[in-house]
Symmetry: C2
Subunit: 385 residues, 2 copies
């Protein structure tokens, strides 16, 4: 599952500590394994009825959308708001791209692979991504043992002979680093997974402008339950084949989810432009900064963990200098943290080192607070058990 993934926490060689007992929360495991973006719930609770959308019994019965898009099931309202959002934020060039809507990035990844894999070949094309890579890649590529494509692991160790597909996740999941292609072979096709290329996670330095770019509402606005993602695709034939994939695999994408996503993106755009509204990205960035600062304090107060650092970059969107705040941290040992009732995802799942873990930073405040409390407990060894 895609997580908010951010920086790595490394477990240093300090002696293993025993936790103080939590007074209130002894039973519950805090799940920071997957990036369930419930952190933004507080913004949406405050927004009032601006974001409400009602469906009547006779709405959206048809398979077909009301737009004239190459992607025949794409609702025109969603298309409009996707374009508007990218223009307002400056996160991507949309005007010379086709938009393909999907049931989030997972389905769009498969659609892109379907569209970019050679049709007539004996061997499946190799698919690579540099470690640490998004932990779901190997499974998504290979779960039905496709004859079209095959997961080939770390892009850094991939031999350049022949054709290949490279996933560039930027900012990267799990470590939040801005990435460029690694293989740079002659016959490479590139898919940019830009799920985290939004102002609360990273400074937007320039609008992305690649052949295939994948986005999802989950990490942008927090509405993971809607399962809406979209691809910006330069080549018409690739966009057509991706649309064909969606047609065969699910005959399109839920109209309710699309129309609600359109409403949410509309409100977010408005919040960026209307000074009377609280800017969604500023709000969520300040939440992220606050969490990072508190996490840093806890981590700096001990010798057990190491946090990643991030470069200072110029943010086009905010027109000002900001540090980047990718949404997670990693540690040394999934097992250690699990003993302390913190459920994380081991670095080994990302093709990396099991001394690292990814910790989702996007949970509700309540869970994040318990997480910090338990982390503090680990850093102060006691004599008891």
């Amino acid at each position: 599952m895609s997580g908010i993934d951010g920086c790595l926490v490394k477990y240093s060689s300090a002696p293993r500590a025993t936790p103080k007992n939590d007074t209130k929360d002894t039973s519950a495991i805090i799940v920071l394994d997957h990036g369930d973006p419930t952190m933004y719930e507080s913004y949406w609770s405050k927004i009032g009825n601006k974001c409400d959308i009602t469906f009547n019994g006779d709405n959206s019965l048809s398979y077909f959308a009301n737009g004239k898009s190459l992607c025949w099931f794409l609702e025109s309202k969603l298309e409009e708001q996707i374009k508007r959002l990218h223009n307002v934020v400056g996160s991507a060039i949309v005007d010379d791209h086709y938009i393909v809507v999907g049931t989030v990035s997972s389905q769009l990844m498969q659609a892109a692979l379907y569209a970019l894999s050679p049709t007539y070949q004996l061997e499946p094309i190799s698919v690579v991504s540099a470690t640490p890579f998004y932990s779901a890649y190997p499974e998504v590529m290979d779960f039905v043992r496709s004859g079209l494509h095959k997961w080939a692991g770390d892009a850094r160790t991939f031999k350049k002979n022949g054709s290949y597909i490279e996933f560039i996740t930027s900012p990267n999941n799990p470590d939040g680093v801005i990435r460029e292609p690694v293989v740079n072979g002659d016959q490479g096709k590139l898919i940019y997974d830009l799920a985290y290329y939004w102002p609360q996670y990273i400074v937007i330095t320039s609008p992305a402008n690649h052949d295939v770019m994948l986005f999802t509402i989950s990490k942008c606005t927090g509405h993971a339950g809607s399962r809406i993602g979209w691809a910006l695709v330069k080549d018409k034939e690739v966009a057509r084949k991706m649309t064909k994939f969606m047609e065969i695999s699910t005959i399109g994408v839920s109209k309710e989810a699309q129309l609600r996503a359109a409403k949410i993106l509309e409100v977010i755009c408005n919040s960026c432009l209307d000074p009377k509204m609280e800017n969604f990205f500023e709000y969520s960035q300040s939440l992220m900064i606050n969490r990072w600062n508190r996490l840093r304090q806890v981590v700096m107060a001990n010798d057990l963990f190491v946090l990643q650092k991030y470069p200072l970059q110029y943010c086009l969107f905010r027109k000002d200098f900001y540090e980047s705040h990718p949404g997670g941290e990693e540690e040394d040992c999934e097992k250690l943290l699990k003993e302390h009732k913190i459920h994380t995802r081991s670095g080994s799942r990302f093709g990396s080192d099991s001394r690292n873990v990814r910790i989702s930073m996007l949970s509700r405040d309540e869970d994040f607070n318990i997480f910090l409390k338990r982390l503090m407990a680990i850093q102060r060894p006691t004599n008891g058990n």
Copy 2:
């Protein structure tokens, strides 16, 4: 695309006719190729606000549903209404089945194949269905060239050696016939596609009770835009693997679509139980009967087409005798009808004869009326043109 599919129309050997010109609709092609179930829109327009559902900004952010189902993304409200509907209609045994929700039947078919295909094997398992079969089967099985399963065509000509998976579509798409397994080998696994097993299409003779049964809201209520389907699965491990498929391919199913589907199913159940409401199935059955009668009149008035016949069966749901009214007809020649601006689907797409076509009966009244008018024009040759 799943269509409402019903009976075949055969093109007899009568001489080809020339159409009278439509006075109003000379330019528009009537698309009766895919079964877009907009016919039921009239019911939903009349239902008032009983079916309204509103989403606030902070609803359904999480990946996870609020239920305790094995299918971790299944909304408990939808689970409840699916069970209630099957019990009210008597269409399936639900109490000893697990429910897996999917982005309609297409995704559930793939999930069922994933779950039933042997994990460790050199050759993909053969997947068959008796002709005429649902026209999307070959593409859905083979589009990513899976190493797990492979489309092997007509179940009737399949050799029984070894393991296989058989799709039993009942009532069948495209011809509306109630079906039983055909291969009956020792090592067969069966998937029942029961998309049309609802009272407006077929008399419900007994609650279905099979290992894997697939349903979709599209053909039941007409809400094809929602993309909601469900599987009833007897074996826990199969249900778990199907859920895993959904997790990898789309990390669940849109919450908005699920919650709206729950609302729609609730209203339909109420309409069956509350004498003050217009019973949805009676309403839609009467629409179907009306269309069939009008179509029969047009077809009987000429020698060009032949309609299928359907058996009289006892309907558990209606507690009375009714004729079955599957939702389509088939003809001889897609090309002939296309010349008359009627877009249908050739029998060859269903592994059948191109003298047949499938015509969707589920379009809006307006389109159906134009269709009948054009059909009449074909049957009365003129001297002109």
